[in-house]
């Protein structure tokens, strides 16, 4: 499904209104982690990342991992500098007050899946 469908169905806040959430490829996978070394190693390319990690590095790591978007859960928000970098690089940033657990559950119910076992 499109990122836009996920955003509207789950009521996610769009932190990067400068970017369209309806353009890109379908999103079918997700990953939840606050350890960016783990995101680099394990997040599925084209997937969506759920995290409470707001350090600037999350943008570079998400781009390197080829992620479709990052959702900051539990009310966490990145600094404006990180947001601007994401806009510049075309990486949509989203936010929710829900916990990572709650949001991951709702995304799973929508049909998104994790990387699975290897």
């Amino acid at each position: 499904m499109t990122l836009g469908h996920i955003v509207s169905t789950l009521g996610l806040e769009v932190l990067t209104p400068e970017l369209s959430v309806n353009g890109g490829a379908d999103v079918t996978q997700g990953h939840a982690s606050d350890l960016l070394s783990d995101v680099l190693a394990n997040a599925p390319s084209g997937g969506i990342l759920l995290t409470i990690q707001v350090h600037m590095n999350v943008i570079a790591v998400a781009l390197h991992a080829g992620l479709a978007a990052v959702v900051f859960t539990q009310g966490m928000r990145p600094e404006e500098l990180a947001r601007l970098k994401a806009v510049q690089e075309g990486l949509p940033l989203l936010a929710t007050k829900e916990s990572t657990f709650e949001l991951a559950g709702r995304m799973y119910a929508l049909g998104l899946r994790g990387r699975g076992r290897e």
């Binding site: 606050d34 350890l35 960016l36 070394s37 990690q53 350090h55 600037m56 590095n57 570079a60």
Partner: protein
Amino acid sequence: MHIHTVLSPCASPEMTPNAIAREAARRGLAVIAVCDHNTAGNVRAVADAAAGIPDGPVVIAGIEITTVEEAHVLGWFRTPEDASAVAEALDVDAALPSAASRLTLSETVALVHRHGGLAVAAHVDRRSFSVPGQLGFIPPDVPFDGLEISAAGAARGKAADFAGHGLPLVSSFDCHFLEDMGTGVTLLEIPEPSFDEIANALGMAGGRSSAIA
């Protein structure tokens, strides 16, 4: 340069100021740094103990700071007062001494520098609580004074992985037990064991230098 006392919940109860000072002297260490989690509360006690024994080490006032990203950063300071001022600014709940402060990595390094200290990213070769572990890589815009390689990592040649950052590498044990003291060693070519000379060595100033043993 990274010794925990009993003030750190993870340290062995044997890590008392007297025992640390005696063990450092027995092993012939010229300098040690006391780096408890988010506190400098035992620095003076170790320094006093070291001053009271023959061949006691010079004790550098340190703190192992937990940033909001849960990355560990060592702060080394000229005086226990500088270290205490930084520990106070961290404002970490004394009931959870190794918990994260509210300061970001950049704010932490700036705070250490404001108090004249050196900021070293701790055990960068480890996955847990290290800057690369938490943040995927070492942010190039954070002005660290050095990177610490754990003793185990140094023994496995991990220092080479971090040589490309243009930062001095130091090695220490992240010592929680007396028997581990002095097993991770950084060699400093300095005329006297003092904070200022360590700072010179890390900055490669005035012919001073540092290297991992």
